[in-house]
Symmetry: none
Subunit: 204 residues, 4 copies
DNA sequence: GATGAATGAGTGTTCATTCAT
DNA sequence: CATGAATGAACACTCATTCAT
């Protein structure tokens, strides 16, 4: 059983990966089953032995992202100090974006129009990250390391920075941001979120 | 003449608005000329008296956004102090997002796959905002109001916060963020970017 | 009356001429009422004040050709001797083709598919010419100038030569034929039809 | 492989034949893919598995005609004496027209408006025949069998006769020509081209 | 299981024709 | 009379999906 299962799983995987690539390149609608099949090296009909429909491919891709237990990494980082935490999260998210670029891009085209996909994406991918971040913030505030703040605002604010910067690095290579080494990026952002921009503390 | 022109412009406008709505709801591909026409209350063929093609509709929507001279607002705000500037920009962008929601959403489905659209969107919509923000930062740093920082990182970081928060407020009404009054939002973000999160300055 | 009539006729004429040109250039189907109207300098709707439909334009063009009482010329030439007659007919037909090129070409695209048009074209344009030619041949045979022959075969044979040569001169400028002076052409054909190709009589 | 190939070829053939018929009956533009498909007994979409586009069907039909190596027949006939040659060519062309009627008629509607098709038709179908005829004439002139003549005029003259007569026989059944037995036709034309029409030689 | 040929529903676009001005 | 904006029927073409082999 495990043998058959494994073969089947492997092929499903291959199909999903090819689908993600094609979806990412052409968008969901312009992508064709034929091309996905060709990229895996199988016949178009074969895909239907593994997936119900073209749409099911997309939803499976969404699940793939969701399954990547993002929060685990976050929880592990929660034992670090503020500086370390922010650096770890940044690092992890940048990696995540790079690793899953085709999957994320594949979803991006459809997430805006499919209500269920949108909800799914939010509740499964974004919300947990916010929640984890919020929990961390609250803990640190309680410890007196960070000042009190409205975590439901600050968490998505930080997330937004990371996301946009990641997108810019991936999609707009001509913007300066693409050339900045990753550690410099992390350092600058860490400082921004910990110390803000005021000149206040500088002179001391 | 002015009369005809005006009628023509009005109808173009109506078509564009309907197109944006349908694109936003269904995504560019699932949207049909027939439905757009029906929403305006005209025949499908009539649309082609005003726009070359379905794609031209999308590009016009993009132009509509681009033409909205974002930077003017930013420039006017550049005379304010740091707190006022951040608040003004935040306010303006939140308004912009709300005002242009269907247009933005219409673009969102295609901007990921159409190279030319992507470049256009970046160079015309995002880059100017970054540049304006960067200029402001540099000025304030020179004045000694803000500490030195890498503006090419900080500008998109702030932009990302604003964008994600705007998206959440618009698309995910079930998230807490939707209920926060706008001025509280602005206050919290202003504080975040000016002072950071460290408890350092708090107790003193 | 004559005044109104004349204006109306003039405009009909202009429309017909424009239609013939566009039909000739693009073929009946690719031709558009809009372009025909533009070429006359009127609005598309106006054409319908003069002609029932697009098809009516085509039929009117056919009538135009038919009205050109071809046979009159032929009858006048029938008093000439054989050499003069053939030369006159050749000359006249070459002129006719050149003069009516757009009209003929306009019809050419449709004459193959429209049964009524085909019949009309044959009975009104070709058959009379054949008949006239046949009558002439019979007269000359009776006079002993020409040898007996099956006129219903010879007439279209000569006509076919003239038509193909005319088409080649008009449509295939790269063929040698386009450069041959008209009188040389007429001379060669006259000789061909009168004397044939045999060397028989040459040496004597 | 040969098996699949053959099936595929057969179906391509069937589609082409159906297309030629419909094009011939309705003309290229009025013909619909749907009707062509129906005539073959397949779904419209299936046609696109065999041909790129509707236009490609037309071009394939043109190729079909072109591939019919006309000149081979002509070359074989070139060993015959003048009378035999003319008879052979006439016979062959009449057959060719009858055999390919739908294909020829299919092209006829478009050959007048499509520059590339026109050129193709002339250079591939007509020109070689003229050239072959011209070569034959020159040979016979050199042998002293035929009198010197301008072959570039005589060749299309003869071709024109054959073409028009063929068209009349096919398209205008009510004309006398349709009833004339083929051998009488050939005899009359042979005599026309060899001896001409002058009574000159008759009395001797 | 795998194939890939066949399907046919669905859509952007054109353009002859109409009719309110 | 003339206009030209509006109409909407018609058609080529695509591609997810099926199913006989």
């Amino acid at each position: 059983m495990g043998w058959h299962e494994s073969l089947r799983e492997q092929r499903k995987e291959a199909i999903l990966e090819a689908a993600a690539e094609v979806f990412a390149q052409k968008g969901y609608h312009r992508a064709t089953i034929k091309e996905i099949a060709a990229r895996v090296g199988i016949a178009p009909g074969t895909i239907y032995l593994y997936f119900e429909s073209k749409r099911a491919l997309l939803l499976s891709i969404a699940d793939r992202l969701i399954t990547q237990r993002v929060s685990e990494v976050l929880e592990q980082a929660s034992s670090l100090d503020a500086q370390g935490y922010i650096a770890a999260v940044l690092q992890e998210r940048l990696d995540f974006f790079r690793r899953n670029q085709p999957f994320l891009q594949a979803l991006a085209t459809e997430v805006w129009t499919d209500e269920s996909l949108r909800r799914r994406f939010f509740t499964q991918v974004l919300a947990p990250v916010f929640a984890s971040g919020a929990r961390y913030l609250e803990k640190k505030v309680a410890e007196g390391v960070l000042r009190p703040c409205r975590v439901e605002i600050v968490a998505p604010a930080v997330a937004g920075s990371i996301i946009l910067i990641s997108l810019l690095r991936i999609f707009v290579p001509e913007y300066t941001l693409a050339d900045v080494p990753e550690d410099e990026l992390i350092e600058e952002l860490t400082r921004l979120y910990l110390d803000g921009l005021s000149a206040r503390g500088e002179g001391e």
